[in-house]
């Protein structure tokens, strides 16, 4: 088992390296380097720029050096000192801006995953056991429908429904009085009141896909001889279902984490923009629109790294639950 985990971790390293290169390319994409943008920005505000400052910053980011050296300097700063560079738009180090938002992104994604799983498994089971019933057709139709509705449309529609029919304003993760307050029971309740809508909105697309997979897996298992055997022994239908086929059908479902997670994180970003949640989404969009590339690049890097780590964990979980994977 330990060998398997080590092997997976070693495999992840080239992926992480490649992701860092992609993030670096995105930082470099806009024309002109970081300092020209900064100079233009300062000049537009009427500030005089000292030649010494410019030279010092050029040195700091290695802007006179060849591109691979700049990459080396950038990644080395991140790895050794956690230095992601400076957001020129907000004039603060990137690290000060991102961790809090990244935390909320992670929390929101985890809650969404839990929600999706908790709902998809029972519906999938119901759909498979009552194949071709009205509830099965309903589930199938809704699955296809929600797959076709983009996340942000769902978010907008949900906000419209909430405000037009229930007269509630939607947006943010807290009521104004709790935003800056410390954590307390009241804040937790307030958080729960706000968070369920984004969680449902982000989850619906993946939920649909998961229900389809769960249904197909379980249908495969239900037609196998061991089910008939167990039934012939006189086992009760519910006990039989929970004990054998459902457990087997769950295994492939765990492996879907590998693509559900990127989908959920993508969805989280765009839904957060629409609902103005304090997560990475609005910050990333704002950074990109302002061409604040160190902030944007760092966010893209961290989001991707978190996704890769999440996928790694799901691989290990799968190996833990399914010995067949471990001994391959």
């Amino acid at each position: 088992m330990l060998r398997f985990i080590l092997k997976r971790i070693v495999f992840a390293i080239p992926t992480l390296f490649a992701v860092s290169i992609i993030a670096f390319i995105i930082i470099q994409l806009p024309p002109g380097d970081y300092l020209t943008t900064l100079m233009a920005d300062w000049a537009s505000q009427g500030g005089a720029v000292e030649a010494g400052t410019v030279a010092a910053m050029r040195e700091r980011y290695g802007l006179d050096q060849p591109i691979y050296f700049q990459y080396y300097k950038w990644i080395w700063g991140i790895l050794t000192a956690g230095d992601f560079g400076i957001s020129f738009e907000l004039g603060k180090p990137v690290t000060e801006l991102i961790w809090n938002r990244l935390g909320f992104s992670l929390l929101l994604s985890l809650l969404t995953l839990c929600f999706v799983w908790a709902i998809a498994i029972p519906i999938g089971i119901l759909s498979a056991v009552r194949q071709y019933s009205i509830s099965d057709y309903m589930a199938t139709f809704l699955a296809f429908f929600f797959l076709a509705v983009p996340d942000f449309l769902m978010a907008l529609s949900a906000m419209y429904v909430m405000s037009a029919w229930f007269g509630q304003s939607v947006g943010g993760l807290f009521s104004p009085e709790y935003v800056d307050a410390g954590w307390s029971f009241g804040k937790l309740v307030d958080f729960a009141e706000h968070v369920w809508l984004p969680v449902v909105v982000i989850g619906l697309g993946s939920l649909a896909a998961l229900v389809r997979i769960m249904r197909a897996n379980l249908l495969d298992e239900l037609s196998k001889p061991y089910v008939t055997t167990a039934r012939a022994k006189g086992m009760s239908e519910l006990e039989l279902l929970i004990r054998y086929p459902v457990r087997l059908a769950l295994n492939p479902l765990i492996s879907t984490l590998g693509w559900i997670l990127p989908a959920v994180i993508s969805g989280e970003i765009i839904v957060s923009v629409v609902m103005s949640l304090p997560t990475t989404g609005p910050l990333l969009l704002r950074a990109l629109l302002a061409q604040d590339m160190y902030l944007a690049g760092s966010l893209i890097l961290l989001i991707s790294v978190l996704t890769i780590i999440g996928t790694l964990i799901s691989d290990i979980l799968l190996a833990l639950t399914d010995p067949r994977i471990r001994f391959q």
Binding site: V19, A148, P150, L153, S157, M159, P262, I270, I303
Partner: protein, 384 residues
């Protein structure tokens, strides 16, 4: 696609599905026979063809210039069509009367039953135009038969500047639906080439390509697209932006196709007919294009169809965020930018729901169609 539609449909000699006919039926014939059974997919095919037709004839179908503004009809609601006026058949909408609601300080529109605006087919266009950029035309499919001052025809409502949403959605279809097709074409080239190399040669090339595909698939797509799209300079001409956005969107789409192609190559590589061709002295490239590719063409078509909706959704999402296509261009995503503000949506829900319906209907039918094609791509499974 043309091959499928050219096949004789119902009218041809009916096939005995269990007997000899099935044994001698060609690949495309089997494909069509199986596909025909999937009713939902068949309906979806019709819907999709209809939508692409609307997109192609957008100039003819849209009654108004999508960029023509009218300050008088800011946020005018959809006008419902009635077929009779004063007991005689005369399709008409009612003229909108504007009132100011003194409490909310908003303009409100009420239909005025005494003033019908008659509507008819094949009316004279306000300006001559070129259909498909080629054919000079003077007529529109429908419109106001005798336009007077104060007349309006907003069947899907109007936006912030009084532009006709219906015309805008129809024109948006041109861009949004074609991005799917162009993107899929790029994916096709990338996917078949890279997947083919991976599956046919195997070894380290295969390993490297598979790792690369896994990498691309493990990154959340939206941030990656956003990062790339944001780098497009604002001053670029619309056409160039359009192609770069398509390229970015197809960056992910090709991976699933490459996997499919690779799998097929791997399973077909050692088939007898490939070995026979090789022994005959055929070149590797020749084998790939004249034997291997035709044998899994139907799979490719199915996978491609399933890739179109994800590209349409990607373009919509990027444009909605304001980093994809920009306003002089009309696409469904650009239309939805107007709906970003929830207060605007609360006042004029048609800003959100009309483009949304267009997106959902096209994506839904493409998904069903792709599903049907995928089932049909394995013709021997249940037909025989």
């Amino acid at each position: 696609m043309t091959d499928i539609t050219n096949l004789p449909p119902e009218g041809g000699p009916s096939l005995d599905l269990t007997g000899k006919d099935i044994a001698v039926a060609g690949q495309w014939r089997l494909f069509w026979l199986k596909f025909k059974k999937h009713k939902v997919a068949l309906v979806s095919l019709v819907v999709i063809l209809f939508m692409y037709l609307v997109a192609a004839l957008a100039d003819f179908i849209a009654p108004f210039d999508p960029n023509a503004t009218n300050a008088r009809f800011t946020y005018a609601p959809p006008q419902s069509l009635s077929l009779f006026h004063d007991g005689s058949f005369q399709p008409n909408v009612k003229q909108l009367k504007m009132t100011l609601n003194t409490q909310s300080m908003r303009r409100e529109f009420v239909p005025d039953p005494t003033k019908p605006v008659s509507v008819g087919f094949f009316v004279k266009a306000p300006q001559p135009y070129y259909l498909l950029g080629l054919i000079p035309m003077q007529t529109k499919l429908f419109g106001i038969t005798n336009p007077q001052v104060g007349d309006s025809l907003y069947i899907f409502g109007a936006d912030r500047l009084g532009r006709d949403i219906f015309s805008r959605v129809v024109h948006g279809a041109k861009i949004s639906l074609s991005i799917g097709l162009v993107g899929v074409f790029m994916s096709l080239i990338l996917g078949v080439t890279i997947g083919g190399i991976s599956g046919f040669f195997g070894g380290w090339a295969d390993l490297a390509i598979q790792r690369f595909i896994e990498l691309l698939r493990s990154i959340p797509t939206i941030p990656l697209w956003m990062g790339l799209a944001a780098a497009i300079p604002v001053g670029w001409p619309p056409l160039r932006t359009y192609f770069v956005i398509t390229l970015i969107v197809s960056l992910i789409g090709w991976t699933s196709l490459a996997r499919e192609v690779r799998g097929k190559f791997l399973s077909l590589r050692s088939e007898d007919f490939v070995i026979a061709a090789r022994l005959d002295g055929m070149s590797e490239i020749g084998i790939i294009f004249s034997h291997l590719v035709p044998s899994f063409m139907s799979h490719i078509i199915a996978t491609l169809t399933l890739a179109i909706p994800s590209m349409i959704l990607a373009e919509t999402a990027l444009s909605f965020l304001g980093i994809g296509l920009q306003p002089p261009i009309i696409s469904w995503g650009v239309l939805l930018q107007e709906a970003q503000n929830i207060r605007a949506v609360a006042q004029a829900p048609w800003l959100l729901f009309t483009p949304a319906a267009a997106i959902v209907i096209s994506v839904l039918s493409l998904n069903f169609l792709g599903d049907g094609l995928r089932d049909a791509a394995d013709p021997y499974e249940s037909v025989s």
